[in-house]
């Protein structure tokens, strides 16, 4: 698309209303604002390069999110290979709203560690971004009923993973379930 101003303008016109939601999705998908912003930039650069191959403007949203999911899948493989685990838990004492958010993110990351990249995207879009089953079906090229079943399974696996993690953790230092939690979470493996 390089050099084609008209196409470039069209790309940014379509992107503008979707950008905040897209950025929020990327941040929630990666579980970290910085990694999410990196994913936004990578995915948008890929989308910008391949925009001329998009034939229908109506499909822009699905196409854009699909690019982000694909990019995230690739990144996830790299991270897993480099770090072994991408989901360390914080060992800070949680006592304010910001730390509450961090703890929630960490716990969600732990729960989502059992899912594939596509399943993580599915859960993020539905549970955190509020996408309907029909929107998800259009994006993933599947049937709504099938996605619903898949999401139910994902949720159950996340619950079981989180429970296992809780049981492994020190019971004295990992107290959960309180509406205003005061939780000390130990580093995984410590």
């Amino acid at each position: 698309m390089r050099g084609d101003n008209q196409q470039q303008n069209r790309f940014f016109e379509l992107l503008e209303p979707e950008l905040p939601r897209f950025q929020a999705f990327c941040q929630k998908l990666t579980g970290d604002p910085d990694s999410g912003d990196d994913l936004v930039q990578d995915a948008l650069y890929d989308a910008w390069k391949g925009f001329e191959r998009l034939r229908r403007d109506l499909a822009f949203k699905s196409w854009l999110y699909q690019i982000a999911v694909n990019r995230y899948r690739t990144d996830l493989r790299k991270w897993k290979k480099q770090a072994g685990s991408i989901l360390p838990l914080t060992d800070d004492l949680v006592d304010d709203g910001q730390s509450r958010l961090r703890l929630a993110r960490d716990r969600l990351n732990v729960a989502m560690a059992c899912l594939s990249a596509t399943d993580r995207a599915l859960v993020t879009l539905h549970e955190l971004e509020g996408w309907s089953y029909s929107d998800l079906a259009a994006m993933f090229g599947s049937r709504a009923g099938r996605l619903r079943t898949r999401l139910t399974r994902c949720r159950r696996r996340m619950q079981e993973t989180l429970l296992r993690h809780m049981e492994r953790a020190d019971k004295d230092s990992f107290v959960i379930g309180a509406s205003e939690p005061c939780v000390v979470v130990k580093q995984k493996g410590s």
């Binding site: 950008l19 650069y45 690739t74 429970l163």
Partner: protein
């Protein structure tokens, strides 16, 4: 309520689809079952966390202007990057994005490199070679029709080498990829007999030990061939012994011969002079003077059977496999062995044949399998262990060429059931007669 049901209810609860009565039942179960209680707690934690994250706005929202600057900057960097780095980046990303495809591509590249570096084995070292002769007088088969036959058998890739001899035309077909193709060809040659095209199988050659083992173990017998028709090259003495013990055929054994050959062979073979020989050993000429080897002319004639065209190899005959073992102990290295077939000898497997007899003790039926290359006058007779006639199953019949089965129901000529025991089946087709024993249980 069972735990399995409780888990299902928990899932429905998280989706807001659980009825009030069911919620009550679920709560009661959760009070009793700590395991499900902890799972419910984890689910609640997860739901709370997701709601919390959902409500939090994006900390530093990007603008279109920032995005366009980022894209422009990246594009500039991309254009300034050299082609090699771009390719390496692209390969790197492809490996992560499509690991299976990358693995397949890598495997393909290794194969390509290997195929270039490793020399392809020549036809001499792999595959089969079948040679057969068609007598000149009744020759109907020519090269063109032989090619058509091969194409019909789906082995059209093989080359046909035809050359005339005094007695007709000899054909050599090679390379045949596997023993299945060999078998197809043999069956086709066999069936030509029914079309008045007489062919004689000269040899089947396999230049690889694994291949000849397959051939011997499976296809020779399946194709109904006599082992005498098989001409194989093996690599060691063990193969020779296997062949000898398995088929009792004649052998030609090739070996390089050292300096001590003359004396040892002389001493060894003197005892065998004049006897019928079963095994031939081809030794390298080096240590043996074939013309002036010191042995008397009679002995040389009986020993030296054949020479290779280049004159480097000569043949020597031995009588028993034990002699071959003895030679090996003396330090001879057997390079190549051939199991040879004298030419112009009729091949029993190509004519009428009693292939097999199978007796079923449950049904008391015996199935007799035979084949005839063309319409012969056939007789199949059952005899008892003393040679007395029990029943004629086929008498003066002229079946068409091919494989045939006939079932004997265990009754004699008077219709009475015969006793269990040993019986004989005598099969005759024209002048050919073959008798086999079998047990009726």
């Amino acid at each position: 309520m069972r735990c399995r049901e409780a888990k299902r209810f928990l899932t429905a609860l998280s989706e807001g689809l659980l009825a009030a009565d069911d919620q009550k039942a679920l709560q009661e179960h959760l009070k009793k079952c700590p395991s499900c209680g902890r799972l419910a707690l984890a689910g609640q934690v997860l739901t709370n966390d997701m709601e919390h994250i959902r409500a939090v706005p994006v900390p530093h929202p990007m603008t279109i202007q920032q995005i366009s600057e980022v894209i422009a900057s990246r594009d500039k960097n991309y254009k300034e990057t050299s082609l090699g780095v771009r390719i390496m980046r692209h390969v790197n990303e492809t490996i992560y994005a499509r690991p299976r495809l990358s693995l397949a591509a890598a495997a393909l590249m290794v194969l390509l490199v290997a195929s270039v570096l490793v020399p392809v084995r020549t036809d001499q070292s792999a595959g089969y070679e079948v040679a057969f002769a068609a007598p000149g007088s009744g020759l109907v088969l020519n090269t063109l029709s032989a090619q058509k036959m091969l194409a019909a058998l789906d082995i059209g890739d093989a080359d046909i080498d035809a050359h005339e001899t005094d007695s007709g035309v000899e054909y050599t077909i090679a390379p045949l990829k596997d023993s299945v193709q060999v078998r197809k060809l043999i069956v086709a040659l066999d069936s030509l007999g029914g079309q008045q095209v007489q062919t004689t199988l000269i040899s089947i050659k396999a230049h690889n030990r694994t291949i000849w083992q397959l051939l011997l173990n499976a296809d020779v017998q399946k194709a109904g061939l006599s082992p005498n028709a098989v001409h194989v090259e093996a690599q060691d003495l063990a193969s020779t012994i296997n062949l000898k013990e398995r088929f009792k055929g004649d052998f030609v054994l090739w070996m390089p011969v050292g300096d001590q050959t003359e004396d040892s062979l002389h001493g060894l073979l003197m005892d065998r002079q004049g006897e019928k020989t079963n095994i031939q050993i081809f030794g390298e000429k080096g240590g043996i003077r074939t013309d002036e080897c010191g042995w008397d002319q009679n002995l040389k004639n009986s020993l030296v059977n054949q020479q290779t065209p280049d004159g480097k190899w000569a043949s020597f005959k031995l009588h028993e496999i034990e002699d071959v073992r003895r030679l090996e102990k003396m330090g001879y290295n057997f390079a190549t062995m051939q199991w040879d077939t004298p030419r112009q000898v009729p091949i029993p497997g190509m004519g009428p044949q009693l292939i097999g007899i199978k007796s079923n003790p449950l049904t008391r039926e015996t199935v007799i399998e035979y084949k005839v290359p063309q319409a012969y006058e056939v007789q199949v007779r059952i005899l008892d262990e003393h040679g007395r006639r029990v029943r004629d199953l086929i008498q003066g019949c002229f079946p068409l060429g091919g494989m045939h089965l006939i079932t004997w129901d265990g009754l004699d000529a008077d219709g009475d059931q015969v006793r269990p025991g040993m019986y004989q089946c005598r099969f005759s087709a024209g002048d050919y007669v073959e008798t086999k024993e079998f047990e009726l249980r």
